[in-house]
Symmetry: C2
Amino acid sequence: MRLDDRKFLILQAIIDDYIMTAVPVGSRTISRKSGVGFSPATIRNEMSDLEELGYLDQPHTSAGRVPSAKAYRLYVDRLMKSVDVSEEEAGRIHDHLYRRTAQVEEVIREAAQALSDVTHYTAVVAAPRLDGMTVRRIQLVPVTETSALMIVVTSAGMVKDHVIPVPAGVEPDHLYAISKMLTAQLAGHPLSNARDLLIGVFAGLTEHKQLMGSVIRALDQQAQEEGVGSLVVGGRSNLLSYPEYSDVEKAKNFLAVLESREKLAPLLSQTGGVEFAVRIGPEINMPEFADCSVVTATYRVGNNTTGTMGIIGPTRMNYARVVSVLNYMGRTISDLLSGDKE
Amino acid sequence: MRLDDRKFLILQAIIDDYIMTAVPVGSRTISRKSGVGFSPATIRNEMSDLEELGYLDQPHTSAGRVPSAKAYRLYVDRLMKSVDVSEEEAGRIHDHLYRRTAQVEEVIREAAQALSDVTHYTAVVAAPRLDGMTVRRIQLVPVTETSALMIVVTSAGMVKDHVIPVPAGVEPDHLYAISKMLTAQLAGHPLSNARDLLIGVFAGLTEHKQLMGSVIRALDQQAQEEGVGSLVVGGRSNLLSYPEYSDVEKAKNFLAVLESREKLAPLLSQTGGVEFAVRIGPEINMPEFADCSVVTATYRVGNNTTGTMGIIGPTRMNYARVVSVLNYMGRTISDLLSGDKE
DNA sequence: GGTTAGCACTCAACCAAAGAGAGTGCTAAC
DNA sequence: GTTAGCACTCTCTTTGGTTGAGTGCTAACC
């Protein structure tokens, strides 16, 4: 049995309806829809076929049909019509993002908020990955007598800081001189090499060995943290509006995942460099997200740097709209983070 | 009618029981408790009195009694026995907090996590307020050709940064010189005065007027942000375990409040400088928190600087335990943030 | 006079049975 | 190939009865 045009049409109608209502859809409902000129009985025959093909599930005899994960997959891959973001949505996104001067943390926080506001789903935005960037400058700013803030400025104008210990008796001016030396050594090199470069320098040193050790450790730690880097969640409570999460126990498990960076990170990182990725229900491989889909997208900052963001919604989410919103948001963030600062 | 000793005893027994079970408690239950040597009938008479006095509510005839907000108030003010944190709890708090080098953001994040972990309620921790602190150092670090990071180090070793625009053509060394000048001008003065001091300097300037303007604007903005400063929430999903929030609609409203800094900030800020504050149900004056209580505490960093943290739980929360945990956490944070760095 | 046993009464919670409604699958007619 | 008709299925809602915890009152008790 093959999926002919009519089956396509009917499947699409079912998915569209289910996305709106979350109620198993019956043959009469589809038959009444404009565009489908068949009687309920015919629809029923087709639905029976579609079920056999694995595109529909039946919660029980005498309920309507519900799209399966396979159906959503098909929908996303082939049936989905791209939608433009509406004027109003674009406006809301701008309102969020252009509110104040754009520090990275602030931008991704607002982005997450905007995404969840506009889509009514839950949004996760990860800060741009630093490892592809090159170092532009390193500077040590004294904080107390025995500690300093190490500031790393990267090519895309992104900033990362670390508190490091400093041996007592090192003057501020001295720290500045060391900063200039560090900058001279590392500027233009990728951040991921910085550590190794410094180790070379380190060997030839006679003084400040201790301080340099601290700098190297801080760079190490940063590299380590990259995996679970800055991660902002917006619209946690949005998903509770959907009947899928009217069960408190389920809702609780879902929210618990959102609380842990460790569990959340893989959701965003498994994109494999594709611009968009859609993972549907069981494809996510997490029991808490069995009824969820995740749409992730990457955004660019400068030339080599990318960050990831994602929308988490029920499997019956409005994929077309989510993709278009993510698309628009990607462009907006890029403008904001690369344009203004470069 | 007065609250005599026996009524006290019975009320306390009712509250204790209700805190544990969340089920309306009946006369027989209390009568069986050791320490109360009266028959159910006697208890009933007293309960009837307590209801008339406003300490108990009855969900409906023939259900047990439930403590009213007034009862919890009394409990907190007079009946509560102070409890020590257990070894195990103290250990868990330490595990969270001493995990890595202590940057402020990191510490308050872990503190929120630890508090919610240990209490099983929801925790909110606010970063220390900066306005009481004095400036120790200001430094400008170039980021791009037209922007720099302004770093303000305060007396307690706390760091705050801002991106500010810089006129093109200002050399890094030049920025460093300006930083030294700024530091010389402001060091030792309270952060809240910094802006006004600079305006005095500003008038006499011939060059760098533009840059100084940016610095002043950044200080302004920081003062403004102080009100809704950094705020971390932990254990959002914890409250969903309690039967009070088995209603999804309620849970959703509750979570929505936790998402908005603006709504959350007053919860912590209305403490009025007291070390502990307990607000119970209606006293909070937010419909979403009608069944909640909030216990807030301040912690100290250095001499003048304080931050706030709070636990949000059901009105029937275990106040004694929460207060002791907050107490312990306050001391631990203080040690961590002032001790190590001063 | 405070305390307690006894008893009628109330009300949510639980359960089973009945009815309604939506939807299917099959068959026969178009 | 399409559709009308019909018996059948299964959930959801409603209804009514039962249970049990708990109260309030009264009268007896110490």
